[in-house]
């Protein structure tokens, strides 16, 4: 019960800061929208490459990637806030006030999820407004959002673990770069089958590839590799929750 109270308090404070500060809320909405515009608008001709078979069109194809990207970066950006809290000493206040400190990690994760849900809603509205076609039925889109929420959880827990180990804003690139690489070493612009060479080999073992392909399957109404995708996303979330809690223990030991 006290853990829940701590989690809610930490989440409230993080969300309050984000949504009352235009410098934080605008990039959160603008960047995914911008990537969606740049990829879906600028590269739509790629859909004409032989072998590119995605019935819902390039807008829907890119929407799934940008949605997952916003989920992952929503987590990382929340991680920046954690690093800032340690740098300014505010985290010490949280560590002191929270009887059960795992509630702090849960609070940050809850904030990252709520923060991303706003972005996801905004992005979805824009996508439908510009004519995105969806082939799936009732359950397919929620399944995509659930998958993205797991990606969000994995990303915030990864970033949280880094922030609590380094306890400095200098941790920013370390949080960001691996997430960037995992995202972009997946089939971002074309389906997996059209990738060749080293990038194909990397994409094959990249867990995000399963998530991306399954997500595109949901939007097309023909889900593929659903179990593998959920397994990969949930596996990452569990793995990084252990990473985050160990990070918390390291922060506690460091004082």
């Amino acid at each position: 019960m006290r853990n829940l109270s701590v989690a809610r308090a930490v989440a409230w404070r993080t969300l309050h800061n984000v949504f009352t500060n235009p410098g934080l809320v605008i990039p959160q909405l603008a960047f995914p929208l911008f990537f969606f515009t740049a990829f879906a608008g600028g590269l739509s001709h790629i859909h004409d490459v032989r072998g590119f078979a995605y019935p819902e069109g390039y807008t829907a194809f890119q929407f799934v990637f940008v949605l997952l990207q916003s989920a992952a970066f929503g987590g990382v950006f929340t991680g920046f806030g954690i690093a800032r809290d340690f740098e300014t000493g505010f985290a010490r206040r949280l560590l002191l006030a929270a009887p059960h400190r795992t509630g702090i990690v849960s609070g940050y994760a809850l904030a990252a999820l709520c923060r991303w849900l706003v972005t996801a809603a905004f992005l979805t509205c824009v996508a439908f407004a510009v004519g995105m076609k969806v082939g799936g039925h009732g359950v397919d889109l929620p399944a995509l959002y659930l998958l993205a929420a797991l990606v969000n959880a994995a990303a915030i827990l990864w970033a949280c673990g880094v922030a609590m180990r380094l306890r400095s804003m200098q941790a920013g690139p370390i949080m960001q770069m691996p997430v960037f690489l995992v995202l972009f070493f997946a089939p971002v612009y074309v389906p997996l089958g059209l990738l060749t060479g080293w990038i194909h080999a990397v994409a094959l073992v990249n867990p995000l590839t399963r998530v991306l392909e399954a997500g595109r399957g949901f939007v097309a109404g023909s889900p593929t590799e659903v179990a593998a995708a959920y397994g990969a996303a949930a596996g990452l979330a569990v793995l990084f929750s252990l990473w985050a809690v160990r990070g918390l223990r390291k922060a506690e030991a460091a004082g």
Partner: protein
């Protein structure tokens, strides 16, 4: 005259050293554009199958992008360093010395140009390793380096203007998303004639960054193209003159003694 040259050299050296001693500022401009090049050249290779695509090597096509990203880093480096000098009071200390304002600006931009050239050499070397041979030959490589130096000068002076006018690193950093938008809404990833979404093609056509990209790209994949070179250097000249004159105009107020 000799004193001014010494001052410029000293300040340029300081500018290079402070970047060199900050690993994040040195490594990021070298590594990040190469990562993006790797990601995009892998993911977008299928584009070369589109009818009308100008080359069979997407890496050669995409190698122009790091040069323009160099502009972004030049702006940030020049602006952030100057703004930090203002915030920390170092500029006030300089204003108590007989240092000429022009020497300060030239020194800072000299350092940025030196770093821009290092970056350009690195990008070309990486391109060479993965098999890119500039179609315009050795002369083309020389022109590319001149172009890279001018990019650093022109965009560095824009960053310097913002820094001198606002005196705030935060204001300089806020330029980053603006440049980012200009870069992405351009012919960065696909030739303009192959952009099928009309509004995007129009935006890319109106965007000066497209012509800077196409200037570099022409030297790498097509050879000597007078129109592309003229547009690229012309746009750079306009940006440079505007940036330098506004920075020079703002400087006396900041250095008011």
């Amino acid at each position: 005259m000799r004193t001014t040259v010494d001052q410029v050299a000293l300040l340029a050296r300081r500018s290079v050293l402070r970047t060199w001693r900050n690993p994040a500022a040195t490594i990021f401009p070298l590594v990040f554009p190469m990562l993006l090049l790797a990601v995009n050249s892998g993911g977008l290779r299928a584009e070369t199958h589109l009818p009308g695509f100008p080359t069979k090597s997407f890496v050669a096509f995409a190698l122009a992008v790091p040069f323009i990203q160099g502009a972004l880093f030049a702006t940030m480096n020049a602006g952030t360093d100057l703004a930090r000098d203002i915030e920390s009071g170092f500029m006030s200390r300089l204003s108590l010395t007989p240092l000429r304002g022009a020497a300060l600006l030239a020194g800072q931009l000299g350092g940025v140009i030196a770093l821009g050239l290092v970056q350009a050499c690195f990008y070309l070397a990486v391109g060479f390793v993965v098999g890119v041979r500039p179609a315009a030959g050795v002369g083309g490589v020389a022109v590319l380096l001149v172009f890279a130096a001018l990019i650093a000068l022109a965009f560095g002076s824009l960053g310097a203007t913002i820094a001198i006018r606002t005196g705030s690193t935060e204001s300089v950093q806020s330029l980053f998303p603006v440049f980012f938008v200009f870069l992405f809404i351009s012919s960065m990833n696909i030739p303009r004639n192959l952009i099928s979404t009309r509004w995007f093609r129009d935006a890319a056509t109106a965007n000066p960054v497209s012509y800077l990209l196409e200037c570099v790209r022409s030297l790498i994949i097509t050879g000597w193209n007078g129109e592309a070179l003229g547009l690229g250097f012309g746009i750079l000249a306009v940006i440079g003159v505007a940036g330098l004159s506004s920075a020079a105009a703002a400087l006396p107020r900041r250095l008011a003694r």
